[in-house]
């Protein structure tokens, strides 16, 4: 890609100096920097926002305010610089200096951790940052939790639309099944309800039963997905798109007509088991980890072989039918789990929240981020969600701006931002480096 613009030379020098200063800063230093920014925001954010005339503490770095009052742009820039950029860069710089002073002595325990320990430590760090950031407002907390749900949905859809190369639009349908199954299980078990009677188990068990309910919800969703999978895998092409669309509408109108589940009025009273960010964070990490494992295994890569040339895959000993089934049912399972999470985050579900719009939204995230990419799915979901929150002040116009952005992305990068490629995430990277090392050190022959 070529750059079509040049920065003025003064700025360019500053940028070069900045880059030089922050080159090969270890990831732990960056994480500390981000934590510093979040803490500074918690300390002075509210007051500074008031002084600068931004009103309440802006939820998304003040970016959505631009669309409300453009005159505030300088104040917003000051706010971003003082609250986020300067603390983050400063703390990163200090930590790096400190680490250099200790010449690796202080933090060698981090290097000595096993790969999984290193990954868990960094994930915990990320969680702490997100936790502090989310504690500023309920709105942020809600957005972050829905973001987790959407990441699961997008990645699971990527299995079918990306790796397997078919086109599924039934995400919302799978979500609905998962949401209703999980809700019914939890309400039946832990809530005194007029339909399902008094609670069967003590309410204090609910948080521990929730994972089981989610897994059952996912499994039930996968079983209903068989109804789509069995007939549609005999052919290729548009067939799956049509039958998944049908599935979604059948599911939606079924729930609209099941009276004891509230029909079109919806179903509520879910116990509050997904109130904390931690629950959603753990499920998101688990889902991403499991699907990442699958698509990086040779067994899972065979899914792409089926997409690129099915007869050749079949000849090269790949059981294509099984491969397609696994990809589709995994998609259904995780969509169901995400639906169950969604129901307990929102605390209220009705059939119309699982319509075509929901599917289209997830498809948008998927194609924005890029097919065949785990990090792409995450990036696409985050960008799409951020965009849709930041552009909220534009109201209806938002739904003209976002599609235009999507179209521009599709023209510039037809496979999505990260289609068919992964960015390396340094805080998860060490395992890969270590595995390579083991390969090169392994003795030749068995």
């Amino acid at each position: 890609m070529q750059r079509s613009f040049e920065l003025p030379s003064g700025l360019r020098r500053w940028y070069a100096r900045l880059r030089a200063a922050y080159q090969d800063v270890p990831i732990s230093a960056w994480l500390v920097g981000m934590l510093a920014a979040v803490l500074v925001e918690a300390l002075i954010g509210r007051d500074l926002a008031y002084i600068l005339g931004l009103g309440n503490l802006p939820s998304f770095f003040g970016l959505s305010l631009i669309f409300k009052k453009w005159q505030l742009i300088p104040n917003i820039l000051v706010f971003i610089a003082v609250v986020y950029v300067i603390p983050a860069l400063g703390a990163t710089y200090l930590v790096r200096k400190l680490m250099a002073r200790l010449s690796g002595r202080g933090l060698t325990w981090l290097d000595r951790l096993p790969s999984w320990g290193y990954i868990l430590f960094n994930l915990a760090f990320v969680y702490v940052i997100l936790h502090f950031w989310a504690s500023a407002s309920d709105y942020r907390l809600l957005v972050l939790r829905l973001l987790g749900v959407n990441i699961i949905l997008t990645l699971s859809l990527n299995l079918v639309n990306g790796w397997m190369g078919e086109f599924s639009v039934s995400v919302a349908g799978f979500m609905a099944v998962g949401a209703y199954v999980a809700s019914v299980l939890m309400v039946w078990g832990f809530v005194d309800d007029n339909v399902f009677g008094p609670a069967v188990f003590p309410a204090s068990w609910a948080p521990f039963a929730f994972p089981i309910a989610l897994i059952i919800a996912g499994a039930v969703t996968a079983v209903t997905a068989l109804a789509v999978a069995i007939p549609s895998f005999r052919t290729r092409g548009d067939y799956l798109a049509i039958i998944t669309l049908a599935y979604m509408f059948i599911v939606k109108s079924s729930f609209e007509n099941i009276d004891f589940l509230g029909g079109a009025r919806g179903f509520m009273g879910q116990p509050k088991v997904a109130e904390s960010l931690l629950v959603v964070f753990v499920w998101t990490v688990l889902a991403v980890w499991i699907m990442y494992n699958y698509v990086t295994s040779t067994l899972g890569k065979a899914t792409s072989a089926v997409r690129d040339n099915e007869p050749a895959a079949e000849m090269m000993t790949v059981n294509t039918r099984k491969v397609k089934m696994v990809a589709f049912l995994t998609h259904a399972f995780w969509s169901g789990v995400a639906g169950g999470l969604y129901a307990h985050i929102v605390g209220y579900i009705n059939p119309s929240s699982f319509g075509l719009v929901k599917s289209a939204e997830i498809l948008g995230m998927l194609y924005l981020g890029g097919l065949n990419s785990v990090t792409g799915s995450i990036l696409g979901t985050v960008l799409f969600t951020m965009l849709s929150e930041i552009l909220r002040p534009l109201k209806l116009i938002k739904w003209m701006v976002i599609p235009v952005i999507l179209i521009i992305v599709m023209i510039k990068r037809p496979r999505g931002l990260l289609g068919f490629q992964e960015i390396r995430l340094p805080f998860l990277e060490r395992r890969a480096a270590k595995a390579d090392e083991e390969v090169s050190h392994a003795p030749a022959g068995d």
Binding site: Y294, L299, A305, T317
Partner: protein, 255 residues
């Protein structure tokens, strides 16, 4: 005992008789040729042998086992592999992944290993990675391992396809026009290459080819197919001088 025995193979596409009463016995270590004009049904015979189509009639016995009507992935596991007339690589994947996926039938860690990284998955993945790279090194294409296969030169793609076919550890390798689109010099090279892989991997080879020099130079026994039927068979010399074969290829003189 022959490695592959085909008895009275007949196949119809709707009302069209594509293959009629095809018989063959291929001994281990042999290089067998199947020639004939365009549309004679050569590739159909390969497709029937590898299970792409289920034969209307007839029996296919491979290595003492009846494989008639089995799906290709099982036939592939039993030890038949093939390359295609028009390359059928998995274009979005790297050359290495193309080869590695052909290990699918022998992967032992199963779905649980794939999802949760257990059942010795990482050891097995490392072993597959090593074996695939070794195989590519034997064919002289290890330098292309990490490149996306659709961007590679045609000759290299052919070798990647060969490496992929060999990764299933076949006993019998079917080559469908291995020199399609090659210059005479490349063809000579491919002839040596076919002999090399036969000796290195202890293979029996059955090939379809149009280029007479190639077929005549390599094959021990040749069968000629026309309109789905064998019209002649024999050693290269016998076939070359057979008037039926000449007529099938060149037509008859107008009188």
């Amino acid at each position: 005992m022959p490695l592959l025995e085909i008895k009275n193979l007949t196949h119809f596409f709707g009302g069209l008789r594509a293959v009629h009463n095809f018989n063959t016995r291929i001994e281990p270590g042999e290089i067998r040729g199947l020639i004939g004009p365009n549309g004679a049904g050569k590739t159909t015979v390969f497709n029937l042998t590898t299970g792409v189509y289920k034969p209307t009639e007839g029996q296919i016995i491979f290595d003492g086992q009846d494989i008639t009507g089995k799906p290709p992935h099982q036939i592939g596991k039993l030890g038949i592999s093939r390359t295609y007339q028009n390359l059928r690589l998995w274009g979005n994947l790297t050359a290495l992944d193309n080869v590695k996926i052909a290990f699918y039938g022998r992967i032992r860690y199963g779905l649980l290993g794939a999802f949760f990284g257990i059942n010795g998955r990482y050891e097995e993945e490392r072993r597959i990675d090593r074996e695939a790279r070794e195989l590519m090194a034997l064919l002289g294409i290890e330098g292309y391992a990490d490149m996306v296969v659709s961007g590679l030169p045609y000759g290299i793609q052919r070798k990647v396809e060969m490496a992929r076919a060999l990764a299933t550890r076949p006993k019998l390798l079917l080559l469908d026009e291995p020199t399609a689109g090659m210059t005479p010099a490349e063809m000579e090279e491919t002839m040596e290459f076919v002999l090399y892989i036969r000796d290195t991997f202890n293979l029996t080879i059955w090939l379809i080819e149009h280029k007479m020099r190639f077929v005549m130079g390599l094959c021990h026994w040749i069968q000629v197919l026309n309109f789905g039927e064998i019209i002649a068979e024999g050693t290269p010399q016998e076939v070359q001088n057979n008037p039926e074969v000449i007529r099938a290829y060149l037509g008859t003189a107008v009188t």
